[in-house]
């Protein structure tokens, strides 16, 4: 009986047009990812436009200008300032002016002045990324210059410029010790291996949740719910069939969507060198996390079904996924900025009672071998789902599903309590 309802839900909700539009979105996302990943690659291999005008013309200024010219596509200094200016305005680049008296200043212990004029294409992330390259050029050239100035003071040992080596020996965090790694690397490794989970959860919730809510709205609008309620089957079966059916549809849709999203994300992260694998999660960890995701999805979907019960028709059902998504966003942001251990007690409680927090935190807990927290999360979500479903079945057994009125009346005469 449950399977009959599940398969009907899938047939009804997963129409050709929804699948096609999802695939289109997925492909578009994927190709945006490819495009951005190409432009990132360009950044790394490309030389840049650097025009250096050396007004000082001394041995010291020459070192600086030559070093900079090495990074340029061509030697612009032979061209006129005006033509270079017009060229850079259209493309991008920097014009470097080494002032007259550059060497003299340095020799009397002052700073030599160099003026830089920037030409940027735009203000997008990748437009600004090109300015990183210029910064890098400036840094390297400066180092070249310092080495040479030291030589004039007869110091040949370059080590003087960078005499200390700081070695990250260990990090101790939450009772666990990590060797030979910087906190930054630790953080980004953890991020890389765990930050896909909130995305998956949001996706599943929004997809499945809206499916269930609109299916409830449609059933009410078309009075098919009334018909369904007169079928010889238990009301539990209707409730479970709806939750699981909506879940299945949501998972299928999210899978299609994730495929595109994965390609999209690869565009951003694909070129970063993979960081040292500190702790690769094992099958057991992933199974626990999968279980946690699944149970939180069931909890979320039962919440959506409850909300769907309050919807009068299809239209009013449409906006109801919002509260559930907001519930998912809270732990997503809270845990993004702070660790579960470091937030204060009220927030901790808030995070704990929201079913979606647990899968989001799961891998992070497992990373620090805090298995207990994950078990509690799973137990909590299971209870949440069972209790809420029980509650929904109760509502299904009242007139409320049909009339939309008097949900919480106490009818003493008939000894018919809702609770």
């Amino acid at each position: 009986m449950v399977f009959n309802i599940i398969s009907k839900e899938v047939k009804e909700l997963l129409t050709k047009s929804t699948i096609i539009s999802l695939i289109v979105i997925s492909v578009i996302l994927g190709s945006i990812g490819k495009y951005t990943s190409n432009s990132e690659k360009e950044l790394i291999t490309k030389k840049t436009n650097i025009a250096v005008y050396d007004m000082d013309s001394t041995d010291i200024s020459l070192i600086l200008s030559n070093s900079m010219k090495n990074f340029s596509n061509e030697d612009f200094s032979k061209k006129s300032y005006e033509s270079v200016f017009e060229n850079f305005k259209k493309n991008e680049g920097i014009i470097v002016l080494i002032e007259k008296g550059f060497k003299d200043s340095i020799m009397v212990g002052k700073k030599g002045e160099v003026r830089i004029n920037w030409f940027l294409k735009g203000v997008g992330i990748f437009d600004f990324a090109s300015s990183d390259i210029f910064e890098n050029v400036i840094r390297i050239s400066k180092f070249e210059l310092m080495k040479n100035i030291l030589k004039t003071y007869r110091i040949t040992d370059e080590n003087v410029l960078d005499p200390v080596k700081f070695k990250n020996e260990s990090i101790m965090v939450k009772g666990k010790i990590f060797k030979n790694i910087s906190p930054k690397t630790l953080y980004s490794t953890l991020q890389n291996q765990t930050n896909f989970i909130p995305v998956i959860i949001m996706m599943l919730l929004i997809m499945s949740g809206s499916m269930i809510i609109s299916s409830m709205g449609l059933e009410k609008e078309n009075k098919t719910l009334e018909t369904l309620l007169t079928m010889p089957l238990k009301r539990e079966d209707i409730v479970l069939g709806k939750i699981i059916g909506g879940g299945v549809v949501g998972i299928i849709m999210a899978a299609i969507y994730m495929f595109g999203f994965y390609n999209y994300m690869k565009g951003f992260t694909g070129n970063l060198s993979t960081l040292t694998d500190l702790k690769v999660f094992n099958i057991f960890d992933y199974t626990l996390t999968g279980l946690s995701i699944f149970l939180s999805l069931l909890s979320g979907l039962s919440m959506c079904l409850l909300l769907g019960l309050f919807a009068r028709d299809y239209k009013s059902a449409q906006t109801l996924t919002l509260p559930v998504s907001i519930l998912a966003i809270i732990p997503m942001f809270l845990t993004m900025f702070k660790d579960f251990e470091t937030i204060n007690l009220p927030l901790k409680l808030l995070v704990f009672i929201i079913p979606f927090s647990h899968p989001m935190l799961s891998l992070r807990f497992l990373f620090f071998d805090q298995y207990q927290m994950v078990y509690w999360g799973i137990i909590y979500n299971l209870l949440f789902f069972i209790i809420l479903t029980y509650f929904i079945v109760k509502i299904f057994n009242t007139d409320y599903v049909i009339t939309g009125k008097n949900l919480f009346i106490f009818n003493f005469n008939k000894r018919k309590f809702f609770f």
Partner: protein, 237 residues
């Protein structure tokens, strides 16, 4: 055998007293009409009989079962809600199959679906999505859905409202035919011509109360009128 027995049935929605104590009995094989103006309480009464609304007071029996034995009753009844629609994204045939699944214990699945196909008169259009159907086609599909399971009692809330003469007549004839085959019907309606043509016995209710009832023929004689529309106006108006 008594198919439906309703005694002193009461139901209120907050302040509104929809049923103020209704009594009637329907015998097996009868087509019984529940007649009354808008808001009289017809739908409320039919919903209680179909087990989807609870009653506040009174007694309701469906064949041998008390109304509280919901699962037993659901196995032998079939209910068509007022203004019902269907799952628009499903094909007609899948709609019939979906509901037939629930009665697999009562009847052979394939026979049920065959019956549904026949009753619906939709032929190859059953392979199209329901969203492409006209109102009349949807109604025929819904009637087919409710009758294909061969229920002992069919509860139809305004089965022909909003349909043209041809479609309405088709459905009326179908109900008559199924009644001859043994199904008991309780039907609500506003349409007095329909009631005259269709029902063996009627009950007129107004404002949640019984006002008049009996065989259509007897009522016409009692009020010395040629059609029940006049009776309706006399007792309600």
């Amino acid at each position: 055998m008594i198919a439906i027995s309703v005694k002193n049935l009461k139901k209120r929605f907050g302040k509104i007293e929809a049923l103020k104590g209704i009594d009637f009995e329907v015998s097996e094989g009868e087509i019984f009409g529940l007649i009354g103006p808008n808001g009289a309480g017809k739908s409320t009464c039919l919903r209680i009989i179909s087990t989807i609304l609870s009653k506040d007071d009174g007694r309701v029996k469906i064949f041998d079962y008390d109304i509280s034995q919901k699962m037993e009753i659901k196995k032998i009844i079939s209910y068509l809600p007022e203004d019902a629609g269907a799952y628009k994204n499903l094909k007609g045939i899948d709609f019939l199959k979906f509901f037939a699944q629930f009665y697999k214990e009562q009847r052979d699945f394939n026979e049920m679906v065959e019956d549904g196909i026949e009753i619906s008169l939709l032929k190859e259009r059953l392979n199209d999505k329901i969203e492409t159907y006209s109102k009349g086609m949807v109604r025929r599909l819904l009637v087919a859905r409710s009758l294909m399971v061969k229920p002992k009692l069919a509860i139809l809330d305004e089965p022909t409202s909003g349909l043209d003469v041809t479609n309405a007549t088709q459905i009326r004839n179908l109900i008559k035919k199924k009644a001859r085959e043994g199904t008991t019907f309780i039907v609500s309606s506003h349409n007095m011509l329909e009631v005259d043509y269709l029902c063996d016995r009627i009950n007129l209710i107004n404002d949640g109360l019984f006002v008049e009832g009996g065989k259509v023929k007897d009522l016409k004689e009692k009020y010395k009128v040629s059609n029940i529309e006049e009776i309706f106006i006399q007792v309600v108006g």
